[in-house]
């Protein structure tokens, strides 16, 4: 459903991505792994229209979305959960969730979607009237994911959902991400937590220095000597 071809992205004169190509199929979970500064977040930002590639193309459901605005891309059904749980601290949990629904269809089905979000994250229902800034780190991450679901995405892109969370919470978050994928949403996950990401995904891409260094089914990557050495410390 998503096809990125030969994408080059620059920050000014600095080239951040070199010919990145990747695909995400219907119902598939794909992880993009790599260490800091390798271009993982840049890849997501380019797909969601926050950055525009200098070369290459992005197609989604057969449509060229390379030059579309972020809001048009969200409307088409791609949701981007940004890194570092960027919730709006002075808005309440409820208001943050409502922010996720910007278009007629998601707004109309808002109440229903919200019930589903509470199914995944019962904790959010308890804190509905609380300001998002007063939530714990884990709860903020749950809120960020919940907010991302409010736009009724067909493809959800998660940027480092495990960043800065305790190991126990990481388990919980990944379990829920797995659940979300089983409901039929395609997922693209960016992670430094390579083991978890590969465990719940079908395929993986390894980004190094802004280019795809390795790709394959997650199981194969997990046993790949290079991945084991560089990312799993085995």
């Amino acid at each position: 459903m998503l096809e990125v071809k030969g994408m080059d992205v620059y920050y000014g004169d600095l080239q951040a991505l070199r010919g990145v190509s990747l695909t995400v199929g219907e119902g598939e979970v794909v992880s993009v792994i790599g260490s800091n500064g390798m271009g993982k977040s840049t890849t997501l930002k380019a797909i969601s229209g926050l950055l525009h590639p200098r070369r290459g193309s992005i197609h989604y459901l057969g449509r060229d979305i390379t030059r579309l605005s972020p809001s048009a891309i969200v409307e088409l059904g791609i949701s981007h959960v940004p890194e570092g749980r960027q919730v709006f601290p002075s808005l309440t949990v409820l208001e943050n969730l409502q922010m996720g629904a910007q278009f007629p269809e998601p707004i109309r089905r808002g109440a229903q979607t919200m019930e589903q979000v509470f199914d995944y994250f019962p904790r959010l229902k308890e804190r509905l009237e609380q300001k998002a800034g007063t939530l714990s780190g884990g709860e903020q991450q749950m809120l960020a994911i919940g907010r991302g679901l409010m736009s009724l995405p067909k493809l959800m892109m998660l940027d480092e959902p495990s960043l800065g969370l305790s190991p126990l919470l990481v388990e919980t978050i990944f379990e829920i991400i797995h659940k979300i994928s089983q409901q039929g949403t395609s997922l693209q996950i960016i992670e430094q937590n390579v083991h978890h990401a590969l465990c719940i995904s079908h395929r993986g891409y390894v980004l190094e220095d802004g280019a795809v260094a390795l790709l394959g089914p997650s199981q194969e990557l997990l046993s790949d000597p290079h991945v084991c050495k560089a990312y799993l410390g085995l």
Partner: protein, 321 residues
């Protein structure tokens, strides 16, 4: 919350009755309190709620003052109508400025410089147009009457400026509680995240700068007909741009009551100290006092005075947050 509204209602009643016991000088101070509270509120919409910092809001005050005065002198148009014409022009100017800033992604200090430059350009342009008095400005003819927006004594100005403050604040209150208001806050707190959610941040930024400029320019017309004299420096100058942002900053940015409380604290202080220092031959000393106060608030009361007042009144008013 109910008790807070009750208290505000009571305070409004007091303000409505206050002229019964005030002399002309005291009335004048209250006019300035309301005027600056309203100006601060207008600026607060753009900078306090949406987070785009404007240091050139005098631009819109100047447009409001000059347009209504020019139309009144040239065509005998009532300043009440001229005020709306000024509002429309100010909105158009603000939208062009906003387009440059928001479309081309000018953020932070670059946006600030854009706002300062536009105000300064307007000041210089107006300084060279003879039809509006160039450098020396315009003296308004005194023709008292409701249609002329001019009155004998301060009492009518008191009620008009009070009306501006109350209605302006009410409008901002309603805006802040609307869906648009929440989007404004979202843009202020994290524009990237808002964009990623599909929020059309450009559209909402344009909306707020338009509303803010329209409101600000109305105050310009009021001011012109209160002091009877316009000059490019006093109406478009940097001094006014700074003056009008101090109250919301000191009171509490991004809150509806902040600009009002800030004005009640700062305006009397400024007026009284101006008179006091001028008597002692220290003209301009009140500006130093201002500066010190602003620094102290920024250093020790980042969120403004309102937070402390709210905390103190919490048990009494049963406030939640």
């Amino acid at each position: 919350m109910k008790r807070l509204y009750l208290l505000l209602g009571l305070l409004l009643l007091v303000l409505l009755l206050l002229p019964l016991v005030l002399d002309k000088y005291a009335l004048g101070i209250f006019v300035m309190i309301f005027f600056y509270a309203y100006l601060g509120q207008s600026w607060n919409v753009l900078t306090g709620f949406t987070g785009h910092i404007s240091l050139g809001h005098a631009l819109y005050v100047g447009i409001g003052a000059y347009v209504s005065t020019f139309l009144a002198q040239k065509f005998g148009l009532s300043p009440w109508l001229g005020m709306l014409a000024g509002g429309v022009l100010a909105t158009l100017v603000a939208l062009s400025l906003g387009f440059l800033g928001f479309r081309f992604g000018l953020r932070g200090v670059y946006f600030v410089i854009l706002t300062i430059s536009c105000a300064e350009i307007a000041r210089l342009v107006v300084s060279h147009i003879d039809a509006v008095g160039s450098f020396s400005g315009i003296f308004l003819d005194f023709k008292p009457g409701l249609a002329n927006f001019q009155f004998r004594g301060n009492l009518p100005y008191y009620y008009i400026s009070l009306g501006f403050m109350v209605l302006g604040s009410l409008a901002v209150h309603l805006l802040a509680r609307s869906r648009t208001g929440r989007l404004m806050v979202a843009i202020r707190e994290d524009e990237q995240a808002a964009l990623a959610l599909g929020v059309n941040t450009f559209k909402y930024s344009m909306t707020t700068i338009g509303i803010s400029a329209f409101m600000t320019s109305l105050a310009g017309t009021f001011y012109a007909n209160y002091v009877y004299y316009l000059s490019p420096n006093s109406m478009f100058g940097m001094g006014l741009s700074i003056d009008l942002i101090l109250r919301p900053i000191i009171g509490g940015l991004g809150t509806v009551l902040g600009p009002i409380i800030g004005s009640f604290v700062l305006t009397p202080l400024s007026e009284v100290s101006r008179a006091y220092f001028a008597k002692g031959g220290l003209e301009g000393m009140h500006l130093v006092l201002y500066g010190v106060l602003a620094i102290l608030v920024v250093l020790f009361m980042r969120q403004g005075i309102l937070v402390y007042i709210k905390r103190a009144l919490k048990p009494l008013l049963k406030l939640e947050d």
